[in-house]
Symmetry: C2
Subunit: 233 residues, 2 copies
């Protein structure tokens, strides 16, 4: 029997209406749904986003929630991705297709990619479906343009020694998960002499969304800051 196909589906930032029509259709048509959760006892954020779509299904589906711990411990992460890949493979081996729902987009800082690589090595066909990424969800929510004309934009997940070297040549910085590196980010941005506009968005399009002008000084995980440098001309 042929091995089932795996859909890696981006479900966007949080608002269930920001799922695409394509993602919704595939979620309704596929029999097995994988939704990662970060902690036992805490529901999967990605699953919450598509629960309404699942409720509209005419047939039952199986929902599995593998644990993807929020840790930077490489060994622990590797083990969780191995386990998830194994769990998925056992289902796909029965010939059924499966969906893996992931926050934002599956090609931008998505944990799905690590599981996907393992499954591709095992011979599984993976089809990616794009989702609204955090950065454009944040910019549209805040009503701020990310790029216009010949603007160059840089996206950084964590500030290291490279950002100060890039900074003079870019017009827009999108700093993701800023709670992990707020002090260095703020220091680095403030050193740039150009006039700038800074907007931070936390839990974008979720119920407790928070939009702040400037940086925010709390530890919410889903925090993105957009820094736009003004041009002289």
């Amino acid at each position: 029997m042929a091995i089932g196909k795996l859909y890696g589906i981006g479900v966007g930032p949080g608002d269930p209406e920001l799922v695409t029509i394509k993602a919704a259709r595939i979620i309704k048509e596929t029999d097995i749904i994988f939704a990662p959760k970060s902690r036992n006892g805490k529901p999967s954020v990605a699953l919450n986003i598509v629960q309404g779509i699942i409720d509209e299904r005419e047939t039952e589906c199986e929902i599995l929630q593998p644990l993807f711990p929020m840790t930077e411990d490489k060994e622990e992460l590797d083990k969780s991705w191995d386990d998830a890949a194994q769990m998925l493979f056992e289902k796909l081996e029965t010939g059924l297709d499966a969906v893996f729902v992931t926050l934002g987009d599956p090609t931008i800082f998505s944990t799905f990619s690590y599981v996907s690589k393992r499954l591709q090595k095992m011979g599984v066909e993976v089809v990616l479906v794009p989702g609204i990424p955090a950065m454009t969800a944040c910019s549209t929510t805040a009503g701020i343009q990310l790029t216009e004309q010949d603007d160059i934009m840089v996206v950084v997940p964590k500030v290291d020694e490279r950002l100060p070297k890039i900074l003079p040549y870019v017009d827009t910085v999108v700093a993701m998960k800023t709670s992990r590196h707020l002090d260095v980010l703020e220091e680095c941005i403030n050193k740039d002499p150009r006039e700038k506009e800074i907007v931070s968005v936390q839990n974008c399009t979720m119920e407790d969304e928070n939009i702040v002008h400037g940086f925010v000084d709390n530890k919410k995980y889903f925090s993105t800051s957009i820094i736009k440098f003004k041009k002289n001309n």
Copy 2:
């Protein structure tokens, strides 16, 4: 009478299924639809994407297609944006809401932003709805990860003297509209000694989509190249 509200809606890269549920709902509920076209006699690409959604409407709507010429002549562009803003304002003044459909996302290199600025100055409330941007449409279509772990990504609309300065510090480059600057882009990327993977996508998710490994040497307008540098560690 209150002035109507303007929705700036991203309709994604081309596949009508890559429109969000939210965008589809607003397009079905709003009475006036603006869809820019680049040439007289040539249908609006954005309108084509949502035509199926418009056909599902229970009530009629008015569709207007202002001309946004593909030119770099600043005076000609300014005039077209002024004209479009005026055309839109006259409709919004009647108290009706309007939708402006734009390819990709309204905050990433979108001509909508220039019209939107003019209307905001005239007192119009503008609400942005994100769409799948070209870059993640291309990466998912090509099955390539844009960013993982601590990768830094840079997005450039046109190659100038800044790219060689940024290049050594980034892991991923997304070069948009590459037909405008292919020679300099190729030269610049080839100078980087790192091992790299290059994928180019033209007319992503449209009927004549073309995925090529390496750069492409033709003049299609919607061409995006993704360059991923491999890490030594």
